[in-house]
């Protein structure tokens, strides 16, 4: 006979996702459950064990850990765990431990799968049908108090703004302006909310965003008297107010949408936008970073890296500035290196002598964008013995550089990579190397200067990188000849402006008549800023941060450093938008070659202005840092 388990059924019906199940399904589940008791402090799940159940906490509290022992999540009554193991490979992913005396209900995997098949909301809760890898990535980012445990309703900070479906688009625009929102929900009074007889607005049938006003009204020349329902987007993804923030992220990634209406039983209570989530997560790159650290092989990393362009495009669309995007991309690049080095050390064993893996160039400056080479090197302990230790570091460096290439970071044409023996030097050798570059600047040094003089410790003894930075700052600022050479070097790449302030275009591969925004824009600007930074002994690497130091040091005439900042930001943003547009609209590999006719006259004028600032700044270098100038 099927015995009735009233208490268990009652408990389940009070907790998600069971509360959405029909009563008969809850009763059946209750009658099939297994129960287990765990005393406080005992292990419930051990990493790598087979797992055959979904766990629901009846009483008590459970902590989950990452493999490295870091606390991953803390759950209490009604909390659910084990789903990742069930969805992935039936192995425990996160060890679980009873924090208090804990009674758990166990639902075996056959039953779990059966319920996922039969009850859509149940499956949705676990996203069993979604992109499991992506899901895993998002879930693994979670700490106890962030995306996985936070509910979307906690992100709603204002009342919902709705309009009737027959409101005019002008009214919609006025309302959005007045309420300063970027989206409104459209309701249909003909579709009343069954549970709420007092509600006369009706159910949500669409959404209108800023972009719709632009693309569907202004661009189409639609009358301002047109109705909201003519321009609203109707393919809505509604989110329940109890949904978790990470589910919102998943929905946004999956459907490539930026606004999700939040409802309680079909009644709209607000809209979650991507920027809400980014603000909540404070640093969106954090999402990806945690995912990177969770990957277990180069293949997994390479697969994971494929979402990088989307992350980039998303940040651009959310109006992040170039510093934010550059930082995010650099953090991500750094994390790939760190994870690869972890994996390399797992594979080849611990290093025979301590070392520091350093990033060079744009990544060290936090100015890395989506198209980038890998520039890196290794600082070795002074006890390094080539005959004993070099084989290890060769293997390690090859593993990392090859891995980076698979993740989309192209090999460096200039051979500036740790896999080349000449760029694996001891601390002493590096100091000698920099000392000679500074004292005796040769053409080779000039070539390297823009890459090697931006460096950042990524992994291992990162303080050695700081040590080198200090050394460079100290030696560089007092050496006039060095600064003069760096200044001359910074004037090599001129902005693409002709004598009459028109754009000078180059023929470049398949891109006819384009200009390279990096080589002729952001890179020479960074070069100019670097010279000033070296002159004041700044140890900052990022160009914007260097400019702050330069402003503080009052090195440049009033307003000039600010001009440089604006010019760099403008050119960088044009470059970033160009790349995002290539990824998103053309579905082609992004590059730095811009055809200026794609810009509006207004943008063209601004860009020329920015290039003119670069031109003046380069001229100023000549005057400021001539080798025999007496001007301090």
């Amino acid at each position: 006979m099927q015995a009735e388990h009233i208490d268990i059924a009652q408990f389940l019906s009070d907790h998600a996702p069971f509360d959405d199940l029909p009563e008969v399904a809850i009763n059946k589940l209750a009658s099939q459950i297994e129960i287990a008791y765990f005393r406080a402090g005992t292990e419930i799940l051990n990493y790598g064990d087979d797992i055959a159940d979904l766990y629901v906490i009846r009483t008590g509290a459970v902590e989950m850990y990452r493999r490295d022992g870091e606390l991953y999540n803390r759950l209490t009554v009604g909390g659910i765990f084990g789903q990742m193991g069930l969805l992935m490979n039936r192995k425990v992913r996160f060890p679980a431990k009873a924090l208090e005396d804990t009674l758990v209900y166990c639902i075996n995997v056959e039953l779990f799968n059966q319920y996922c098949d039969e009850y859509e909301p149940f499956a949705d809760f676990f996203e069993a049908d979604g992109n499991v890898r992506l899901h895993q990535a998002i879930v693994e980012q979670a700490d106890s108090n962030d995306l996985t445990t936070a509910k979307v309703k906690s992100l709603l900070h204002r009342d919902v703004v709705t309009v009737a479906k027959d409101a005019t688009v002008q009214f919609v625009a006025q309302l959005m302006t007045q309420e300063s929102v970027s989206s409104v929900l459209v309701t249909d009074a003909d579709k009343p909310i069954s549970d709420d007889p007092d509600d006369d607005d009706g159910q949500v049938v669409g959404i209108i965003t800023d972009r719709d006003l632009r693309s569907s009204v202004i661009a189409q020349g639609l009358s301002y008297e047109a109705h909201a329902q003519q321009i609203m987007q109707t393919d809505l993804v509604l989110l329940d107010s109890n949904a978790y923030v990470f589910e919102a992220v998943l929905a946004m990634l999956r459907d490539n949408i930026h606004h999700l209406p939040v409802v309680i039983k079909k009644k709209p209570i607000g809209v979650i936008s991507l920027s809400d989530i980014l603000r909540y997560e404070s640093q969106s790159s954090l999402l990806l970073v945690r995912g990177i650290l969770a990957q277990q092989s180069v293949e997994d990393l390479a697969y994971y890296a494929r979402q990088l362009p989307n992350v980039f495009v998303r940040m651009v669309n959310e109006d992040a500035n170039s510093h934010m995007i550059g930082t995010a991309m650099a953090v991500i690049g750094r994390t790939f290196k760190q994870r690869l080095l972890d994996l390399a050390e797992e594979k080849f064993g611990p290093p025979p002598v301590p070392y520091c893996f350093i990033a060079l160039g744009s990544m060290a400056r936090d100015e890395q964008l989506i198209v980038t080479d890998q520039d890196n090197a290794i600082i070795l302990d002074n006890s390094f013995d080539e005959s004993l230790h070099d084989a290890y570091f060769q293997k390690l460096a090859d593993f990392v550089c090859d891995g980076l290439a698979e993740c989309g970071y192209k090999y460096c044409d200039g051979e500036i990579m740790a896999s080349f023996k000449k760029w694996r030097l001891t601390r002493e050798q590096w100091q000698e190397q920099f000392a000679s570059w500074i004292a005796e600047p040769k053409p080779q040094a000039l070539l390297h200067s823009s890459i090697f003089f931006d460096l950042d410790g990524v992994y291992g003894k990162t303080k050695w990188a700081e040590e080198l930075k200090r050394f460079i700052a100290k030696e560089g600022r007092s050496n006039k000849r060095f600064l003069a050479n760096m200044a001359a070097n910074a004037r090599n790449r001129t902005p693409p402006l002709g004598f009459f302030k028109d754009f000078v275009l180059e023929h470049n591969g398949q891109h006819k008549r384009s200009m390279n925004l990096k080589r002729r824009g952001t890179a020479p600007l960074s070069d100019v800023i670097r010279v000033h930074a070296l002159a004041i002994g700044s140890r900052k690497q990022n160009s914007f941060e260097r400019l702050e130091d330069i402003i503080d040091a009052k090195l440049l005439p009033e307003g000039k450093a600010q001009d440089l900042r604006d010019a760099l930001e403008y050119i960088a943003m044009i470059r970033i938008r160009h790349q995002a547009w290539q990824i998103e609209k053309l579905d082609e590999a992004p590059d730095n070659d811009l055809e200026p006719h794609l810009l509006s006259p207004f943008e063209q004028r601004n860009l020329k202005e920015a290039f003119a600032i670069l031109d003046k700044a380069q001229n100023f270098l000549k005057f400021r840092y001539s080798a025999n100038s007496g001007v301090k």
Binding site: E4, H5, S31, A36, T59, D101
Partner: protein, 235 residues
Amino acid sequence: MTSNSAKQNWPARYKALSATSRHPCIQHFYQSAVNDLNLPISEVPLVALDFETTGLNFDKDDIVSVGLVPFTSKRIYCKDSAHWLVQPRQKLDEESIVIHGITHSELTGAPDFSSIIEPLLAALAGKVIVVHFAPIERHFLYQALNARLGEGLEFAVIDTLELERRALKAKQGLLGRLFNSKLGSVRLADSRTRYSLPAYQNHNALNDAIATAELLQAQLAYHYRPDTELSQLWF
């Protein structure tokens, strides 16, 4: 019948009983009984059993419902649980209705105990029976079977009430015993709170059987090692 104080040699007793018993279900129960005294508790198949009765006088009162759930020290298997209502020979008095909420109308149409003998003994066979307060289940089951088959049933039990009393006594210590300090309640609900087990709303034989199973899991987790031998726990 055995008493709490005398330590029964259950393997020997089961052997003797299986030779003299007549009814096939009872015989099967004795023959399949767990009879390894040294079996670690973590390997013992268990079944929690609970009766609701018309009263506490086992000469006069009768069983109205039976709940059971098989389990181990690690898992309780609800899907193999069972719950029967049976017709008592006496009418329910108002007092017992208040206790377990079973009313006359619910028992209308309930079968006589004889119809559940077979599934009940099959569910108990091969497992060690776990109860909270052994005399009730022991005496009522003996009487109910004796009345219908002409022979009763003797069985070893692990009594969670007894284990709780032991645990409280150990905690009380010598001084406590000398000064005769109060031991604390060993009622099922009170015992469960000591292990942070949830308070169940619905009291019926099945819920109480599950509650007893959970209590034993908790007691084992707190007071015993996984390799504690069966002989230490049953009587």
